[in-house]
Amino acid sequence: MLPRESVSVPGFATQVLRIAAKDLRIEWKSREILLTMGYLAVVIVLAFAFAFVTVGGERLSPSVTSGILWVSVFFSGTVALSRTFDRERDGEAIRALLLTPIARSAIYLGKLLGVVVLMASVEVIVVPLTAMFFSAELGSHLLWTALILVLGNFGYAAVGVVFSAALLRSKSRDVLLSALLFPLVLPVLIAGARATSLLLDPKSADLGSAVFWTQFLGISGGIFVVLGLWAFEPVLSGD
């Protein structure tokens, strides 16, 4: 039995999907990330609900409601980010993965996709819950709101996956991840919160601004993904 000279490498898109599918499949078995993330997101929304409660029960303004939603999404998102690489570190699967011929950028995009799906799954619960607690009208532009959230998830995860990988073996990983991540994802937070609040406001018909913010989200997300593709490989090879 002679060793084969070459091995065929699957196409790029296939590589990305395999990685994402693997992550989601592992997650589906225990649903650990989903449950802890979801719980954290709900708790954060509740904390705000109680912090802002008034006797008269007046409604909070749309921008506050939208802000609460986005803060909750961002903080619970760190769970997905740190856990996504934990799974690789258990059993040193990451080393076997890095030895396969698939591209590092495929690993990056696969992980990114996995995190976005996880965040979106949590949002399916948290968004209606927020609407309920704060009497906000989400139904009017549901699909648009969903688009904004997904674009925001992409921007957030694009930065987060890079730093989560870099902090893989760091002792202070959880603390540092939030500390390093949040200043950088501020544009996403600003744009996302603004866009959502414009959609939530029944009085304002300022859909033009909402369109602008949605585009802004798309562009900044795109920029972050490109930067992430560049930075991921050097960061992963560590030193």
């Binding site: 084969r4 065929s8 799974r87 258990d90 080393r95 030895l99 090879s237």
Partner: protein, 239 residues
């Protein structure tokens, strides 16, 4: 089809992990690397597996430079002291995943063949979906070997492969390594286990404080006691 190192050095800041290593690992031979803790064996393994770039010096595989991240890593099979498997996935899922990352479809027949070659066919009968974390370390190690051999690699790297194995497992591993040698593969084993080394080694290398203190091809197999004497002598001389 050999692996050559030419004056390879690796520094981490002020610490020199490897110092001017020059040697050759021929095909169809089992080279065993011995050495005390902290000698630089893990660093050497990192460089041989293309995951770590040397600070200076070159690594050549079949006459081509082997740089970090090269596609030639598709010809490498690696078994470390961690199994390099996803603990939450089953044996079938793990092997199918890794096969697909090497561009291969793992048909049930091929899967069965692979498990049989590492002696797991009976143990895993009907338990292919059980998460790998439920297996004993010995079984995980065998599965890791199956994973490493899936793509028929020409270069096999082992880092403390017998650490988790009982004596039966260790002798099975020795047999497996010898079969790989007969198949014409280049096999490099890092180990503390002098018994294993004595059974399989064609060449003995000794690393001490980042330097190659001994690099010898054996004309005839050695007994463990002889090897131990040789090892201790070499350590004394190098001190």
């Amino acid at each position: 089809m050999s692996l050559q190192l030419q004056a390879v050095c690796k520094n981490y800041g002020r610490h020199r992990a490897l110092s001017r290593i020059t040697t050759e690992f021929p095909a169809g031979r089992i080279s065993v690397v011995l050495g005390p803790n902290g000698a630089g064996k893990s660093t050497l393994m990192g460089i041989l597996s293309t995951l770590v770039a040397p600070t200076t010096g070159t690594v050549l595989w079949q006459g081509q430079p082997l740089v970090a991240g090269t596609p030639m890593r598709a010809q490498i099979g690696y078994v470390g002291h961690e199994p390099g498997l996803y603990p939450d996935l089953g044996a079938r899922a793990n092997l199918t995943l890794f096969a697909s990352l090497y561009g291969q479809q793992l048909a049930p027949a091929a899967l069965a063949e692979s498990l049989k070659s590492v002696g797991l066919a009976e143990d895993l009968e009907g338990r292919l979906e059980l998460p790998v974390r439920a297996f004993s370390r010995g079984m995980q190690q065998r599965l890791a070997l199956a994973r490493a051999l899936l793509h028929n690699p020409a270069l096999l790297l082992f880092d403390e492969p017998s650490a988790a194995l009982d004596p039966t497992g260790a002798s099975w591993l020795a047999g497996h390594l010898q079969r790989s040698r007969e198949a014409g593969r280049t096999v490099i084993v890092i180990t503390h286990d002098l018994g294993l080394a004595a059974t399989i080694a064609d060449r003995i290398l000794l690393l001490r404080r980042g330097r190659l203190a001994m690099d010898r091809t054996l004309d005839a197999p050695m007994s463990e006691a002889e090897l131990r004497t040789l090892y201790e002598e070499a350590l004394r001389v190098a001190a």
